[in-house]
């Protein structure tokens, strides 16, 4: 993908802000790609999980917070358990959903879940979908 870089964005406060929100140091990521290789939902994502880390490092807030990827992560923790640098991507994704919601980016909301599905699915699925998608 093509992105426009500028010194303003690279020096933006996004990395620090995320670290303050969720304790994750995105600068540790060196793009090995093990997170993306193990992700069960990666085929549906517009940004690979490792690209999310890279774009944050470059300060590209819009590209990250507008991506579908942020709303597709289900916190299965496969990436976290395999990351050689100890980056906890599911936690990072939670903080990105929080930022996207707070800053008014286009997002997937729990109200889009249809009623029939809610009646049919197990309670833990309903509660986790609502909590994760409204964070």
């Amino acid at each position: 993908m093509r992105v426009d870089l500028s010194s303003d964005e690279i020096r933006s406060s996004l990395v620090a802000e995320i670290e303050e929100l969720c304790g994750q140091d995105v600068l540790k990521c060196y793009q090995c790609g093990r997170c993306s290789a193990g992700c069960p939902i990666v085929e549906e994502m517009d940004l690979l999980p490792n690209q999310v880390s890279r774009l944050i490092q470059l300060g590209l807030e819009q590209e990250v917070l507008n991506s579908k990827t942020v709303w597709l992560c289900v916190s299965c923790f496969m990436c976290q358990s395999r990351c050689p640098q100890g980056v906890d991507l599911p936690t990072l994704m939670d903080s990105l959903r929080y930022l996207a919601t707070k800053r008014g980016y286009d997002r997937f909301g729990p109200n889009e879940i249809d009623r029939e599905t809610i009646m049919r699915a197990p309670q833990q699925g309903v509660v986790s979908a609502y909590r994760k998608l409204s964070s």
Binding site: L21, C22, G23, P40, I41, E43, E44, W71, L72, V74, S75, C76, F77, M78, Q80, S81, D88, P90, T91, D94, S95, Y98, F108, P110, E112, I113, T117, I118, R120, A121, P122, Q123, Q124, G125, V126, V127, S128, A129, R131, K132, L133, S135
Partner: protein, 312 residues
């Protein structure tokens, strides 16, 4: 053996097959599961952003209830609850400030004692895993009952049944709370072996089934379940054994939707591991199997391995 038991919401509504077979199987093992007198939802997902501690209130209140029962252990049947409770338990034990904050938060609880009608406003401080240890049913079987002893208690060995043990995510990850090796778990394999069944290894045994994405994006979420079940089938399994009600929903209840999207999908019967446990321990078919939860026909298969009700 008597042990406090936290079933969680799903087992009382949609996963009655899991609850019913759990209670019957452990009764057959002379393990008395004492349901907590009061409990709420655990929150289903762990609050990952540590700065927002309100999400810890539900799990810690539940664990404090087990402490009030005078126990140092609490068992849970749901994989999501296990994950949330064990993480909360571990995190407050490791972080004194967090422990103080959540205890201060819960100190405001007021409850009316139903017997005496008196207000209860004093609560013991809850210290995390040093107070009450969280065990999943599988750990209870492995560490307290013992697979050797379990094997000796089997009345109807599931001989000849080839079962793919599906572990999913929340029992194995994050690794800090895993009940087994996150990449090469064996606990369900060992359980199945002690029941006389043949565990079938398959590469997708610890892959995510798409979890709650099946609610948010029902079509998108079919692919992982398709891959998992097909992989088990390719390795020669006849049935899939699961622990988690959401995995059950994605891989059992949605099999006809998977087939619509992937016409080559064969599908297979899916059981909660406790249903197989109860069957092997000689519990009657109607008590062991939650018939109404099985959309895929299972009776023929059970009969083929010699499991049928004598009175039918």
């Amino acid at each position: 053996m008597e042990i406090p038991y936290y079933p969680g919401c799903t087992l009382k509504v949609k996963a009655t097959a899991l609850e019913q077979s759990t209670v019957a199987a452990f009764a057959a093992l002379n393990v008395s599961l004492k349901e907590l007198p009061r409990w709420t939802c655990c929150g289903a997902v762990y609050p990952l952003m540590g700065t927002r501690i309100a999400g810890l209130a539900a799990p810690i209140r539940i664990l404090r209830e087990a402490k009030l029962m005078g126990s140092d252990t609490m068992v849970t049947a749901c994989a999501f609850c296990f994950n949330v409770l064990k993480r909360a338990n571990r995190d407050i034990a490791a972080d004194p400030l967090c422990k103080r904050r959540i205890n201060a938060y819960l100190a405001d609880d007021v409850r009316v004692d139903e017997a005496t009608n008196e207000k209860i406003m004093q609560w013991p401080e809850y210290a995390g895993e040093d107070d009450v240890k969280v065990l999943h049913l599988l750990e209870l079987l492995r560490d307290r009952v013992g697979f050797g002893k379990l094997s000796a208690a089997v009345k109807k060995p599931l001989r000849g049944l080839r079962v793919a043990p599906y572990y999913g995510c929340t029992l194995l990850r994050p690794k800090e709370i895993a009940l087994d090796d996150p990449e090469q778990p064996v606990i369900m394999h060992d359980l199945l072996r002690s029941l006389g069944a043949e565990p079938v290894d398959f590469p997708f045994l610890n892959e995510c089934c798409a979890s709650f994405l099946s609610l948010a994006k029902p079509e998108t979420a079919l692919r992982p379940s398709y891959q998992i079940v097909s992989s088990a089938e390719a390795e020669g399994a006849q049935v899939l054994a699961v622990t988690c009600p959401l995995c059950y929903y994605n891989m059992e209840s949605r099999q006809s939707e998977i087939r619509e999207q992937y016409p080559d999908f064969k599908g297979m019967p899916v059981f909660y591991f406790t249903e197989l446990l109860a069957l092997a321990l000689g519990v009657s078919l109607d008590q062991a199997i939650g018939w109404k939860d099985h959309t895929v026909e299972v009776r023929g298969l059970l009969e083929s391995v010699g499991l049928r009700d004598r009175d039918k």
